[in-house]
Amino acid sequence: MTAHELLVRLKSGSVASEAVQEALYARIEKVDSKINAYVRRADFRKNDAVNKKQGLLFSLPVTVKDNICTEGLNTECCSKILAGFCPPYEATVISKLKKAGAEIFPLKANMDEFAFGSSTENSCFGPTHNPWNLGCVPGGSSGGSAAAVAADEAIWALGSDTGGSIRQPASFCGVVGLKPTYGRVSRFGLIAFASSLDQIGPITKDVEDAAILTQAISGYDPNDSTSVDQDVPDYLKSLTKDIKGLRVGIPKEYFVEGMDSEVKSVIEQAVNKLKTLGASVKEVSLPHTEYAVPVYYIIATAEASSNLARFDGVQYGYRAKSDNLIEMYKRTRAEGFGDEAKRRIILGTFALSHGYYDAYYLRALKVRTLIKQDFDRVFAEFDCIAAPTSPTPAFKLGERASEPLKMYLSDIYTISVNLAGIPAISIPCGFTKDKLPVGLQIMAGSFNEEMLFRVAHTFEQNTEWHKIKSSL
């Protein structure tokens, strides 16, 4: 059941919050041994006292990605180097959810270590499996959050999106995932991967839930200088089921070689659906798209190399035994970080090094501006852009683990959005022959989440894709 359906029942009293929570735990116990969406399951029963909070969200539990700080609950980014780290503070999104009446249990979702990955295979707690096909990855890095929602072992969840980490797993798992505008949601308490790209967002069973959850976590936060002081509109009002006359752009650069033919035809059908719903659809160009992946991997790894410098064994987390400081640094980081984390730290350190900074980092920043301008030009004439979320459906576990470049290309359609800072949503829009979900991505201009909800909700209410469940 979706959160908004549960909220109606909780409000009327036909369902009690305890019953919701019990049912959820029962479901987790039943399926999570197959999915591995949750980490540190031993902690689950620690927080048995059920609070009956009223408030907007009626004590509904929220599943939280393991890189979002929850006070008193371990937050380890699925990395050995943060083993045992229990923050004495909480993320602003968590405070906001509590204020809205949500319940924060130790429901921490699996992820790629420090959000480095597109498959949730890079976790020190082992990979998460896709509920649609246990041999496939759920996408990543918020794979635990997306799989949990898809497998009905989460009511809804929070993920984080740096280059597609909410939208791509949402697409792979057949659920809804939104990356808000950069600055819409506070990053305070989100353990940073790439600070200029990271944004927390919802992963939900339908668009209405996404709107409710986005509403609850959005807004200016004086503790985050990059959050923007701008009023949050009432997102529920944008769930209008009407897109007549909207101008929808289809970026021609997104339909190129390397795209799975089944995904292509599913997306084409989805675009046709938008047309029949009254949208005017036209091809547009985002000419700098081809540079998005290299630009992203320079900027994101550069920032990550600096953000992850603090994990040194001095104050918290894992510390390797050693008799001198330099050795302690080296061993702690050698033993604490996984391969992908090391790869990105090395890449980022290189990109920022003396003599390479201008050629890589500085140039990447300039191209980032060009990518942003591509979008500005399109949004001057179009209300939104529709595109695939990922070039392929969920791939097999282990298939790309040894091919980082191929893995990096999974993000080819999602990365530009982060570089431009704009919002985008992925919604279920069909299946491949093998019964793997495909996601339709809708992008809009900065702070125009309302447009995303309007288009996504209209599409969803006129299709049945979101109602189809995995046979798990």
Binding site: P87, R310, Y329
Partner: protein
Amino acid sequence: MIYQTVIGLEVHLQLSTKTKAFCGCIIDFGRAPNTCVCPICLGFPGTLPVYNKEALNSAIKVALAFNCQIQEHTKFDRKNYFYPDLPKNYQISQYDLPLSRNGYLYIYRDNKPKRIGITRIHLEEDAGKLIHEDGQSLVDFNRAGIPLIEIVSEPDLFSPQEAFDYLTNLKSIIEYLDVSDCDMEKGSLRCDANISLRKAGSLELGVKTELKNMNSFKGVKDALSFEVGRQAELLDRGGDMVQETRLWDAEKGVTVSMRTKEGAKDYRYFPDPDLTRFHINQDMIERLRLKLPELPQEKLQRFMKEYSLSEYDAKILVSSKEDARFSEECIRIYPGKDKKLMVNWLIGPLLSEANSRKVKISELNITNDELISLIGFVERGEISGLSAKGVLSQMIDSGKSARELIIESNLLQVSDTEELSKIIESVILENTKSVDDFRSGKTNALMFLVGQVMKKSSGKANPKIVGQLLSRRLTDA
């Protein structure tokens, strides 16, 4: 060979703001280690910095006082390096768009001003402090995140003495702005020096050495002087100078190589994505400019003009803001016409009391009113100048008033002619020879007789009046 010394200084100043640069922690140097800390200044994962407007305002004030151009657009950058006193393993600093550039300040030698360029002044955060004890190293993060400004001079200083003068003037200006303690021993002011020698007359700069670890202005001067000698000797021998960082060992009085250029770190600066670029608008700058106090050089000129002081006297009075305020108040309420008399007290007895106690004039335990009251006793001839100096010292020690002390010690000069006449009569009777000498034209004898009267009165007689009475008495008869 004759060389010209070229020196540039980098000064780090801790700003005395209420809270740290990027979090809400209180700054309090008295607290136990690691008690002025929070997850943000400890660099805990997920936390974010938010810059302190008070620190920015202080930094802008300093930049204005040093005649810098404030940059309209500025940003913070990360300086990346691993060290256990640096919680995030990067320092938030400013790299290519510093808060301000192109300033200057004047130093004075033989009353001639010399303009010393200031390359840049920027804002950054301090690191924690390592404490090495019993073979262990401990970290205190109370200092981590305290706002610092770095003031970088041009290589315009041509001798260790000029470097010393630059630091003295810089400190005096900062004290006037009241934005930092400026205490080098406590570490709230730190100074690194770059020094190189070049052939006299050459315009090309020589290979420089960076000097660290000086903990007083004198230490800076001594380290530079040592370095001048070391480099000159090396160059004379035809040796190759290497660019290196050297540490000053104050005890041995030598500099020791720490690392060469090859070992220099690559700090991988890049813009801090957690802190957005910001704008400093002209209004804000003008508002802060209006808040600037009168600075030492302006005050010096005004004191010279308004109170007709010599440059020498004025300089002493304005060297500290508090002393200048104390002195100006004294001069203002001093009732006499000749303000110079008041000034002489300030830069004479009062300054020597302050120096012997190693404090400032304004820190002596004496109010303006009490000081002026003491001077009044002297001017009315009620006590001697000499005993007044003793009273001043006692006033400072005891906190008692001038009147109390003068009465207690029975110091009031006897100016009562009747009482003095009695003593004079007895002195005349006891010193007939001197009286005869005086009468026969030996005027010196009068001084002897005055001395005898003084002796008899245990020094309390007013010597001026005694002289008048004696000479009248002896010539009349």
